[in-house]
């Protein structure tokens, strides 16, 4: 009897489970596309954009620029705009502000555009900008540290900012995505939606899933062409590739390198440009062999950057000279570094006393083989490839590279258990050269892991810290770059090329070296 009861109960349970399964599936027909299953009208232009970056792991949980790196989502998706923006050569140009004037070391006067309104309808004046920036520096640790704002005065369309100490790159920092000007009167919703001045308004968002945007009919700077944009976060590269091929995506950002050849021909277009994300190696000056400049120069001469970028990265990077790409005024075109020259590398090693005395193919000195511990990490796909490339070319000149590619690289860095550390870094996120040197190359730099020191560099930085003119800063940046290259303290392998793929009939999606501007009023679809 008990068994029959169990059997009956089991049958009822299975039936209930099946019903639940069917009903749950049927019910899940909303929310990914704007919160309703309402049919779009034939005249509405709808655009679907695939993106890999709108997720909590990237610190982009919402579109509130005052939180983490969510400013990137705010500016990329056309919701918010900054006072100034970057040109293709990463120089500042007017955007929400017309002009700026540096009154003295600590005081800046910014004149705003007259015709800007937030999508809420409120006019953007100096008071609105003050409210926004006051909130920014109150809640955003990084912005507060960069901007060092002590006071803001608002008078009509004139904003006067006073800093607690000289910040020569203040306008550059204000053009960082966290500087998107949002309407504080309209507020920030609990899920991180904000009101900006951009061509699109955020209607729905869900962390790790995507954003729904609608046209801002009151946009001050043109007429957006699209009625609705769905930004979908897609973490798997193959899924994104197939979604582009099937036409479910109109455009995509962050496709894997291996997929790009599929979209080389019509009806697709690929827009790519160099960014300031650089892959580079830094020398550990605690390693005895690397204290010799000839050995460091030999290593620099034994890295085949062209092969790395054109073959291993399949053309998705450009061979680097210094930390900044050629498109920057203080970039690669202005500096020189060792080029790939194995013969020269061997000569330099010989000059330093390293020769292959035992015939094992590797140079040695005083009975000790030249072995270099190359430390890197796997989360950037290019870095393991760089390590392998270096290991092969170094072997040809007689240097034994032992690669340690680990997510726990910090452990090894802390213990000093490395000779060369290779990593990736956005060297000029605000178009200003100082950032890279203050973070990596000075005695006080947090990422000067190798203990590099240069009196000349320290002196140049002292000058840079009080230089306000952007062209003078560019000149100093070039000098500082050349200093670290001449010392062979760093070897820059490549600059990342970011690519965006557009589908049939899509226009106005153009890659930018800052990686900040994607969805703009120009974006359109036939």
């Amino acid at each position: 009897m008990a068994h029959k009861k169990i059997a009956k109960l089991g049958t009822v349970f299975m039936a209930a489970v099946l019903m639940f399964g069917l009903l749950a599936g049927c019910g899940d027909n909303k929310d990914q596309n704007g919160g309703s299953a309402k049919a779009e009208t034939a005249s509405e232009k709808v655009f679907t954009f695939g993106d890999t970056t709108f997720n909590a792991e990237n610190d982009e949980s919402d579109v509130n620029p005052h939180r983490g790196y969510s400013g990137w989502a705010c500016i990329r998706y056309g919701i918010g705009e900054t006072l100034f923006k970057y040109s293709d050569s990463m120089e500042l140009e007017p955007w929400l502000a017309k002009s700026y004037e540096n009154i003295d070391d600590n005081t800046w006067k910014i004149t705003l555009q007259d015709n800007v309104t937030f999508s809420s309808g409120r006019k953007m004046d100096a008071q609105a900008v003050k409210e926004c920036l006051d909130d920014l520096v109150a809640v955003h640790e990084r912005a507060a540290g960069d901007l060092k704002i002590s006071n803001i005065d608002a008078d009509g369309q004139i904003l006067t900012i006073t800093t607690s100490e000289p910040v020569p790159a203040l306008m550059n920092y204000l053009s960082d995505p966290y500087g998107c000007i949002i309407d504080m009167e309209a507020g920030i919703t609990a899920d991180g939606k904000v009101v900006g001045t951009g061509p699109y308004i955020v209607k729905e968002l869900e962390t790790d899933k995507g954003v729904t945007l609608v046209k801002n009919d009151n946009y001050w700077n043109g007429s957006p062409h699209l009625d609705t944009i769905y930004v979908k976060t897609i973490t798997d590269g193959d899924t994104m590739t197939m979604a582009m091929q099937s036409g479910e995506l109109d455009a995509a950002y962050g496709l894997p390198y291996a997929s790009l050849p599929l979209f080389k021909n019509e009806p697709y277009t690929i827009s790519s440009c160099e960014t300031s994300r650089s892959f580079f190696a830094q020398m550990n000056y605690a390693t005895e062999a690397l204290q010799d400049d000839d050995v460091r120069a030999a290593i620099a001469s034994a890295i085949d950057k062209e092969n790395f970028t054109s073959v291993l990265m399949d053309g998705n990077g450009t061979a680097a000279v210094g930390p900044f790409p050629a498109s920057f005024t203080f970039g690669d075109n202005a500096v020189t570094a060792e080029s790939y020259d194995p013969a020269k590398a061997k000569e330099l090693l010989k000059k330093a006393g390293w020769t292959d005395t035992d015939g094992d193919g590797y140079v040695d000195k005083n009975g000790k083989k030249l072995t270099i511990r190359w430390l890197t990490y796997p989360s950037r796909q290019e870095l393991p490839l760089l390590a392998e490339s270096v290991q092969a070319t170094m072997k040809d000149v007689g240097i034994d590279i032992q690669v340690n590619c680990t997510a726990n690289h910090q452990d090894y860095l802390d213990k000093g258990d490395w000779d060369i550390f290779a990593g990736a870094f956005v060297s000029a996120p605000t178009g200003d050269p100082e950032y890279f040197f203050t973070t990596h190359c000075l005695d006080s730099s947090t990422k000067n892991r190798g203990g590099y020191h240069s009196d000349a560099l320290e002196a140049l930085e002292k000058q840079m810290s009080v230089t306000f003119d952007s062209s003078e800063r560019a000149t100093l940046g070039t000098q500082m770059t050349q200093t670290i290259l001449d010392d062979h303290a760093f070897v820059f392998a490549s600059h990342l090329k970011m690519s965006m793929v557009s589908g049939k009939g899509v226009s106005g999606l153009v890659a930018h070296p800052s990686d900040y501007y994607e969805i703009t009023a120009d974006l359109d679809k036939e």
Partner: protein, 313 residues
């Protein structure tokens, strides 16, 4: 039976404490914490002051025992903490995703049962004939293909080439569930079919089957009424292992099909050192482990008379 169930449920308490403590200690053996991972992911440089401030905000500046005790104290009040990465309440994040994992588990298991039991029996009954070889080859192929490959292959054929299902399946009603279910069911069915075949073959050799045939009982009745019943122990064991594994989420399938389940959430949490999320996942896995084993034991009790007799004696 009631006492047995209560005893097993009470075992959950020390298991939960043990596993969460062990996980906590292991997570903190790494010198890289959530703040370091956040910095690395952004590709920027944060000052030590910035990192210290964030660590203080997240409570990461306290010692490991204090952090654990704080977590336990909050957990007992129902507060599992907030995600270091997204800032959302962890329990809410988890409960939002759990129904999707359960949904996928149910559909995958049902399809697996629907495929593997008939195929396993058919393969056993038609032993060493074409049908048997064909089913065994399918099983071999299904077992050999990694899950991500099956997922992408199904997507390529059914979404891209045939256009039957969308590539970006999430939020598309019943169409969302088909390919993820197939992906999981193919691998599980391949394994189950072989096991069921082996079990059925074993049972078919037994005296009670020979006796039933001698008495003229129809083969179908022997298979369904007796052999399948006797094979249920094996099937239930396999099911319990698979259900436990599926309820833990399948990160790869979730990632490829954009299925918002707990598996990917867990993997992302591990990669970003999001300790509160890892802890809630570990708690969930401990609960699954105890509950699935308990339910399996209860089912054994009702399926196998020998166990009931043993308990009585």
């Amino acid at each position: 039976m009631r006492k047995y169930i209560i005893k097993r449920l009470l075992q959950l308490i020390p298991i939960l404490f043990g596993i969460t403590l062990l996980t906590f200690v292991l997570m903190h053996t790494s010198s890289v914490d959530a703040v370091d991972m956040m910095e690395q992911n952004t590709g920027m440089a944060w000052t030590e002051e910035q990192k210290t401030a964030i660590r203080e905000e997240l409570g990461l500046d306290k010692s490991v025992p204090v952090q654990y005790l704080n977590w336990v104290g909050n957990m007992l009040k129902g507060d599992m903490g907030t995600s270091y990465i997204s800032g959302q309440p962890v329990l809410q994040m988890f409960l939002t995703r759990l129904p999707m994992t359960i949904y996928l588990t149910i559909t995958s298991i049902l399809l697996t049962i629907a495929l593997s039991i008939p195929l396993g029996i058919l393969s056993a009954v038609r032993k060493n004939r074409f049908t048997d070889y064909f089913i065994r080859i399918l099983s071999f192929v299904g077992n050999s293909m990694p899950g991500f490959f099956v997922a992408l292959l199904l997507m390529y054929v059914f979404s891209l080439k045939l256009g039957w299902f969308p590539v970006m399946g999430s939020g598309q009603g019943w169409k969302s569930i088909v390919l993820p279910t197939l992906t999981l069911a193919i691998a599980m069915s391949a394994k189950y079919t072989r096991q069921i075949r082996a079990t059925v073959l074993e049972e078919l050799k037994k005296d009670y089957v020979v006796g039933a045939r001698a008495r003229g009982v129809r083969e179908r009745k022997i298979l369904v009424g007796s052999v399948l019943k006797a094979s249920m122990l094996t099937i239930v064991t396999l099911l319990s292992l698979s259900i436990g594994s599926l309820l833990g989420g399948t990160a790869i399938v979730e990632s490829i099909f954009m299925w918002d389940g707990v598996g990917k959430m867990a993997v992302d949490a591990i990669l970003t050192r999001d300790y509160p999320v890892i802890q809630v996942y570990v708690v969930w896995m401990a609960i699954i482990y105890v509950m699935v084993n308990l339910v399996t034991d209860i089912i054994y009790h009702y399926l196998d008379p020998r166990i009931r007799l043993q308990e009585k004696s």
